[in-house]
């Protein structure tokens, strides 16, 4: 799976997170920070991770989630690592 495909999938997830303003979802890159750039409440990060597990058909380790950063790149890397473990 290409990294851009994963980003597109993440954007689809973010559209369901009602605490993120939809207009902020245009132009998301790997450098975009969920908290700093999208004003995502930190409590929503685990919800995004859980939805990513469902969407990409992967299961994250608790250690990976505990050490997860807040950029789109961090999520993309996590998803790729999880897929490689399968």
């Amino acid at each position: 799976m290409e990294r851009q495909q994963i980003i597109d999938g993440l954007v689809e997830i973010l559209k369901t997170v009602r605490t993120i303003a939809p207009e902020k979802l245009a132009g998301i890159t790997e450098d975009t920070d969920f908290i700093a750039d999208l004003n995502t409440p930190s409590t929503e990060m685990i919800n995004i991770a859980a939805k990513a597990e469902q969407k990409f058909g992967v299961e994250f380790d608790d250690d990976d989630i505990d050490g997860l950063g807040s950029t789109v790149k961090d999520f993309v890397d996590l998803i790729i690592r999880a897929k490689e473990r399968e």
Binding site: R18, N47, A50, K51, Q54
Partner: protein, 450 residues
């Protein structure tokens, strides 16, 4: 000004009420003698597994809300959408249905009070709001997915705590209005609504806060309903509008209902100085416990002590007593006899608004306090619907040697309980509410005559 000199005014009110689009609609339906109780489709689908099927329930759609269900956790309401744009999405994400109602009621109460943004967000503004039940609608599917479906804890997301914690209603209101004073919840079963208002009154009276948003909530929940259904304490066998019948000899239980009542309280002199519309002035609040070790059975002695604590040495009698009046067999008779024992056999009237909308549990005391404010405004006594025949025989407990109360059957006090609303001069109303655990609460509220 010392605490003993401070008075407390009610300057705003709001809420969510069964079969009513807003407070004005609720007011109109109450004073036209309507019943707001319906057959509940959510109960009916359970057939013989559920005993009672009537309720003063309120749906999400009726309050302009839509439920967004989780794609991860089966049956879990992930969040709500406010189709009328009153509550920001960020606040909706941390709220269960009852908390959303509390926020809506708080916005209406603040608007009516006319508080500025700086007043609302002051260190001198508190929020005291509570519920009778837990966040059952949130917890049940969250737990089901973890315990029964073996899903990870995170599939229910990160908001099961804030949407189900004991003081979720107060917390959500506080996060919405951004007050900087006290934020707490009082829990006292079916006295919760009045207990929160009473505690808020004390905060202002004793000089701790100048303004408080206070009230009680009970979000629509079949989980809550079936707990009482299992106890066999809910009304059964009557048409919906005849199901709640306080004091009537054929009553067989209360109607489990839902709703929200929120009031804005303010230190009286401040409210007067800024030209606020004073809806009522709280004379006193008192609460106590039965002290007899009985979780459920009402206490005649406890209720008499309640009156003594509320009235002190005053000889003034209320024009109306807004009773708890649930429609349970023993509760109503003990309450009527304690009222008669304290106030006598005439000179006042009894209003039982649960006859119109049922028992809203944790919201009951707050919504019924609002009905008292409406009676003060309208100068009309709300009726006790379906109170058709009062027992011509003595209650069993009246026949015991230890009984020290009135010796007449309930029928002797028929004149106190109007079946239809009517107009009269109303200067003062006493509101009574009781709860499991033997907790009793009473508040006295008067017209502002200054």
């Amino acid at each position: 000004m010392s605490g003993s000199e401070r008075k407390v005014a009610v300057v705003g009110m709001g809420g969510i009420f069964p079969c009513s689009s807003d407070l004005a609609d609720f007011n109109d339906k109450l004073f036209s003698g309507r019943s707001l109780i319906r057959e509940w489709d959510q109960a009916l689908v359970h057939g013989k597994n559920i005993r009672s099927t009537v309720s003063g329930f309120i749906t999400e759609a009726e309050t302009g809300l839509e439920t967004v269900y989780s794609t991860l956790a089966e049956g879990y309401p992930e969040t709500y959408i406010d189709t009328l744009g009153r509550i920001p999405d960020g606040n909706l994400a941390t709220a269960d249905l009852g908390s959303i109602w509390a926020m809506l009621g708080a916005l209406d109460a603040i608007k009516m009070a006319g508080w500025s943004e700086s007043e609302t967000q002051s260190e001198q503004t508190g929020v005291i709001v509570g519920s009778g039940g837990a966040g059952h609608v949130i917890l049940r599917p969250a737990w089901h997915n973890f315990f029964e479906l073996n899903k990870k804890s995170r599939v229910a997301g990160s908001h099961t705590v804030d949407r189900a914690m004991v003081y979720r209603d107060a917390a959500n209101v506080s996060c919405l209005i951004k007050n900087k004073g006290v934020c707490e919840s009082i829990g006292s079963a079916c006295a919760t609504g009045l207990g929160n208002i009473g505690y808020a009154y004390r905060l202002i009276k004793f000089g701790i806060q100048d303004r408080v948003i206070a009230g009680g909530v009970e979000g629509t929940s079949l989980e809550t309903f079936i707990g009482f259904d299992a106890m066999q304490v809910l009304s059964r066998g009557f048409s919906p509008n005849e199901s709640s019948r306080p004091f009537d000899v054929s009553r067989n239980g209360f109607v489990c209902s839902f709703g929200c009542g929120i009031v804005a309280l303010e230190e009286y002199e401040q409210a007067k100085a800024r030209g606020a519309n004073i809806l009522g002035v709280i004379d006193n609040y008192f609460n106590n416990s039965d002290g007899d070790g009985n979780m459920f059975f009402p206490s005649f002695a406890g209720q008499k002590r309640l009156w003594k604590g509320l009235m002190g040495n005053s000889t003034r009698r209320p024009d109306v007593v807004k009773v708890h009046g649930t429609s349970t067999p023993v509760g109503d008779s003990v309450e009527l006899l304690s009222v008669v024992d304290v106030l006598g056999e005439d000179g006042y009237h009894i209003s039982a608004p649960k006859s119109q909308f049922g028992h809203m549990l944790g919201a009951a005391g707050a919504v019924e306090f609002i009905t008292a404010l409406l009676m003060l405004k309208e100068q009309k006594v709300l009726p006790c619907l379906n109170s058709i025949t009062l027992n011509p025989e003595l209650e069993n407990f009246q026949r015991s040697d230890s009984w020290t109360g009135p010796q007449k059957p309930l029928e002797a006090y028929r004149n106190l309980i109007p079946q239809r609303g009517f107009a009269k001069e109303i200067n003062n109303i006493v509101c009574l509410n009781y709860g499991f655990g033997g907790t009793n609460s009473a508040i006295s509220v008067s017209h502002d005559r200054s």
